[in-house]
Subunit: 288 residues, 4 copies
């Protein structure tokens, strides 16, 4: 048996049709790729098929170019979109923050210790506060202040940095800024935000204060893709924390930190491990 950490990941989606699994798994067998794990799902409402496979090539000269070339004629009749991710791939992640550091500290810890298999080439913030944390990890930190007047310009600077650093994924780790529609469009599907409530409850600003006003007995966090409707992007995962009458907004904020950072970590991990598929405004997540 091979080591599962040598696994390539194959992901695909197409309209539901007889043979969608077979076309993939037959090709895997014929091209001598050993399947470690397979997840598939058929959305009966959308009539859409999703599949994720972890496989290990048994031939030493495995070539992704040849795989893609050979598979394309088989995929065509199914109108299948697919992607191959090599085991050594590390997504290049830009982290955007404001002043809160619990999510940033958590992501950097998991990055530093290898729990999160990513590169973090750049951290961007509208405040200077967290530069020391970036420095200690040897990561460039850009302080790009923002005002109503400079918003367009600041967002352009961010987009330029994402381009310069060849960023695959943007993580809004409590960035606390409402992105412009243009920025949302630019980041569509490649940015993950953590919102500190169980959406759709308590959208918008100060959700813990809203939660306290309402007297809820659970607070939570929602990690979702950014789209152009604030706090309405497709949800990847959610976490909860029981609270009680002794909590005031300040202690809700404090109690919520752990669930925020764990929820954000899970979402980033699912994303980089290619476990998340968009299905309309919903997600298919082959979690483990």
């Amino acid at each position: 048996m091979s080591n599962p950490s040598d696994s390539w990941i194959f992901t695909a989606t197409c309209p539901s049709l007889l043979g969608t699994v077979d076309v993939v798994t037959r090709f895997m067998a014929e091209s001598h790729n050993y399947i470690n794990e397979i997840h598939s799902f058929d959305d009966h409402v959308q009539s859409q098929f999703f599949i994720r496979i972890e496989f290990i090539p048994e031939k030493d000269d495995f070539s992704p170019e040849q795989f893609n070339g050979d598979f394309s004629s088989r995929a065509a009749p199914f109108e299948m979109n697919w992607a191959l991710t090599p085991p050594w791939k590390k997504e290049r992640v830009a982290i955007l923050v404001s002043k809160f550091d619990h999510c940033l500290n958590d992501l950097l810890f998991r990055y530093r210790t290898g729990q999160l298999n990513i590169e973090v080439p750049v951290i961007i913030s509208n405040h200077p506060d967290l530069e020391h944390l970036a420095q200690w990890h040897g990561i460039p930190y850009y302080h790009l202040p923002i005002t109503a007047e400079t918003k367009a310009q600041q967002e352009a600077q961010i987009l330029a940095l994402l381009d310069e650093y060849h960023i695959d994924l943007v993580v809004l780790a409590r960035y606390m800024q409402v992105l412009s529609p243009e920025m949302c469009s630019a980041l569509d599907g490649k940015a993950i935000n953590i919102h500190h409530s169980l959406l759709p409850g308590f959208k918008g600003a100060r959700p813990y204060h809203q939660a306290w006003e309402k007297g809820v007995k659970m607070v939570g966090a929602t990690a979702h893709y950014v789209n152009n409707d604030l706090d309405e992007g497709p949800i990847i995962t959610q976490g909860i924390q029981p609270v009680n009458h002794t909590d005031y907004p300040q202690s809700l904020i404090s109690k919520g930190q752990d669930i925020e950072r764990i929820t954000l970590f899970n979402a980033v991990r699912y994303h980089i491990e290619k476990r998340v598929f968009l299905s309309g405004n919903r997600t298919v997540v082959f979690s483990n």
Copy 2:
């Protein structure tokens, strides 16, 4: 030591002031009542004090009338409202249902086995479906159908039954009817509803369908007091259930049943054990 199940329960609330605890506990000691457990809470925002005490009288001739009489002069300067609940008190609970039986079955099971220390003198429904369950438990079942035209009349019939059976608490165990403002007023503070979502998310009808549309990764249930604003009454307790992309509305409904019935049970238990206090539109719950 005495048996804790012999405990009387003392509950009180008043504006925050120095000595609010002392006035109670001193009286307890002087009147030879042994305190088993004490919970207190000061709401700093409302400046309101809440206390719950379980105690065991050490004198055989303990008289609640004398307790109340003696305590009243001490309570007066604090404008304290208090109540005594004897260990043998069983609240008389009316259960209102429609066609779903998971909450009813659960409450009746706990009632029958003594886990829920209540009387259930009457079950009322707008449908005939669950009469067999009531019959098996030997509980009168009233089938009061409802239409838009007969709503006022039907609600009057219900109120008459609550009166006839000397009901202390009404439990809406998935009753599925929107109560009229008049009915809500009549039940204010003495009716508990279970809503099958994590309020304030997914108010109103078909919350599991709403949850599926939104693509959330958690569903939940909220037990709250009825007031005159639908699904907006003070929350007593909430429960959650993780879900995923393989769930359709039908399986959400099925998966949610356990959390609904446990959440409703907890709320009823907290209420009858005098653990719940209203504090504006929020609750103080001395849970255990």
Copy 3:
């Protein structure tokens, strides 16, 4: 799209080898069976492969006999053991109980309302207490008292009943008797027990008392297959319940009931939906 409740279930296991998925999915496609859902797992330590597929035949004249006949020559080189389960299959479940009724009540409720897709042709107990519950559900109830002297004979009676009623699965719903090694062997792999602790903690008798002595802050329940080593059979699923210093053994028993019955229900559901595979003394569970 077809209705997923029309799904057949295909399960198989064999040694790990290139092509284990392909041999199944290719056959599915060629024989015009639409795959709704697929789970597979390769145990790298045991080098064993497990697969579970839900599929819908697209041909009206689907014949399981023909499926099995045609597939056998393909399965042979892989030494694959497989099984087909039709959508209309209801496992015949015998429930064994003593005096505690929370698990029995829960299973019967879910059976009666269709949440658990089983038949319950017989209930067997060493006490007469729960006969009324069986009667109300119209299920034969056998009271087979047991003493040290009559144990062998009583167990023989049980086995005879299991045979007479064509039982597929035995559920020990807090049966509270230690089965003889002979009985364990006879039930090997076809009986599920609920133990009221988080195994391997607190094996044996009175686990809640043991838990209280130890001062743990979590109690739990473990559903496992019966084998010939008491409380050591392969674990299917576990549940937990936080507790605290105010709990005495009696309240642990009461608090544990919900987690016991939900854990047992989940295990029975996983079993009848063919989601559980034995892998040595461990289980593979394709839960949903």
Copy 4:
């Protein structure tokens, strides 16, 4: 109303007796100390009383010496042991580690951001690996290697450091060394260990490997006081993490990290907030 963060904490324990609450709360009222929160518990088995009060002095010249002097004559008849903790008190915590840094990183983050109201004057390890983390936080780091031969000497060095730095509490943040009985005695009641299993399951070495062997579906962590019986000290709190068949020992180790660090954090917080009382080999924890 005063700010709750100005609260003094009063804790006491004594044999159960009529008036144990009154003697405290009457004194509080008479000495003009405003009670924010009160928890009490009577252990019916041990006949022992426990109480924790948060209070705010209403007089500017509040003197703990005078409080203690005045209260002593009242406490005497009850054989009550009590302690006063001022709001500005920060416990001096020494952290002991080996090579794993997830717990250390977590504690230091919460210390640095004020979530954990402690001083960390010293970090001690038998390995040099984590010195950089200590350095970045400006905390002295002592690398004291240990072998079977040098164990007694190394432990003496540790004890000398605890003395030198006036340490109130020792936190074994995955220190991975079995302490000698002498060391255990020296630390009795003032050291907290995190064990990476749900005790009493999987005591001793490599609990995640044990858990994998057993095939459990939940792993957990247990924070407990150190006493002279390895992994048997009084449990403060426990946490759990569901796992499944796809987990190998390595992924259990990884998945368990979050629950280990949160469980350890909670235990430390409960301890420094004076929420934990010893009651034989069990604990009373007035958590919030």
